[in-house]
């Protein structure tokens, strides 16, 4: 089907969202909370666009990551109103997480001049983008979820307690765009969400490779031999290099 984005005719597929169709056509729309492998939740609201249709009575503002395309849809990604809204949203996110490199970069790109919003003293930097919870769900662990309502809304373990199903993979901390998930690695253990995990140590040199629980998860859920998870990258590479050297004569 054909849709129009910023006056340009673009071919879109049936289950596309405005964001995917735009990306395929090489039209950039800012996005923070969207990943192609996760369910879209429209949390960050940085992908706002204006949509209109010849059959409609007027345009409306929607999140591009969630809005499904339809034939004849007209999308405007850079109107005054759209830019104003995006900047206002980003301004609020940045007030909550001023240290986030990702948000700083986006505000530079969007030419945002920060207003005077400040986050309350004890507030966290979490912007509730739900990337961590969706990643955890995608891995099948569901160790964390949004809890509370309104101002109290936060990401937490079930009832704030011990995360039974957590495997200490650290994906939540790695994906967090504002780095607000605390994870502490030592030579022996990883602590996250109030739980401490033992590391599998490299069989050659002893550096931590992966948590024991994560290794067991990988063995159970991926079709790879169990001994693939026993060594660190440096040792694996060195071993192969030694083999190559022998073949080379």
């Amino acid at each position: 089907m054909k849709i129009t984005i910023d006056g340009k005719k673009v071919e879109a597929k049936r289950w596309d969202t405005v964001l995917t169709a735009a990306r395929r056509a090489g039209i950039a729309i800012p996005s923070l909370c969207q990943l192609d492998s996760l369910e879209n939740v429209g949390a960050c609201r940085l992908c706002m666009v204006e949509v209109n249709h010849p059959h409609w009575r007027g345009a409306k503002l929607v999140t591009a990551c969630e809005y499904p395309v339809e034939s004849g849809l007209e999308v405007i990604t850079t109107s005054e109103e759209v830019l104003r809204l995006r900047r206002a949203n980003l301004d609020l996110l940045l007030a909550r997480a001023p240290e986030s490199r990702r948000l700083q970069q986006m505000s530079a790109e969007m030419g945002l001049e920060q207003s005077g919003y400040v986050r309350p003293d004890k507030g966290t930097a979490c912007i509730l983008c739900m990337l961590c919870t969706r990643v955890c769900e995608k891995l099948g662990c569901n160790a964390i979820a949004p809890a509370g309502r309104g101002l109290d809304k936060r990401i937490d373990t079930p009832f704030g307690g011990y995360p039974d199903t957590c495997i200490g993979c650290g994906a939540c901390a790695a994906i967090c765009p504002v780095d607000c998930i605390e994870m502490t690695d030592t030579a022996k253990t990883r602590t996250i969400w109030g739980r401490t995990f033992e590391f599998v140590k490299c069989a050659e040199c002893g550096t931590p490779v992966i948590t024991v629980e994560y290794r067991d998860y990988a063995i159970a859920h991926r079709s790879l031999p169990a001994d693939y998870y026993n060594e660190c990258s440096d040792c694996k590479r060195r071993k192969l290099a030694v083999k190559f050297a022998k073949v080379g004569g």
């Binding site: 990943l35 492998s37 994906i175 990258s233 590479r237 190559f244 050297a245």
Partner: protein
């Protein structure tokens, strides 16, 4: 030579360990900094014996099997396993799964870094002054 994609051929016998491939890689992939993070490594096995190591773009790749989101896919044109950043959920399992240690998970960006053959024009091979890396 067949009709398939070209491959990066590593010839350790010719490597003198000069590190030009690493420099070229870091220029392309990390704009000159982070030499440790290059996608090609040189191993000094014994005196004057060097072996260059980079992703072998395995036919039956462990990284692809470790990835549950389809973020690692083969580029049929170049034969390289490439990362689709927008599918990656930062689980880091590809790094651990690679049996040869060629996947580097960057904790700061939350994404793995691997050799993608520079989309069919590998800088390391282009700059190797000793013919120890060939792309053919």
């Amino acid at each position: 030579m067949g009709d398939g994609p070209r491959t990066l051929v590593i010839i350790p016998d010719k490597c003198v360990g000069c590190g030009t491939c690493k420099l070229a890689c870091s220029m392309v992939k990390a704009s000159g900094d982070a030499m440790r993070r290059t996608r090609i490594h040189i191993h000094n096995i014994s005196r004057e014996r060097y072996v260059q190591m980079t992703c072998l773009q395995c036919v039956d790749a462990a990284c692809i099997k470790a990835c549950d989101t389809g973020a690692l896919m083969r580029n049929e044109a170049t034969g390289a396993v490439e990362l689709q950043e927008n599918r990656c959920i930062s689980c880091g399992l590809c790094e651990v799964a690679c049996p040869f240690g060629h996947m580097h998970f960057n904790r700061a960006t939350g994404k793995p870094e691997k050799c993608d053959l520079c989309s069919g024009d590998p800088a390391c091979a282009k700059f190797c002054p000793h013919g120890a890396l060939l792309y053919r």
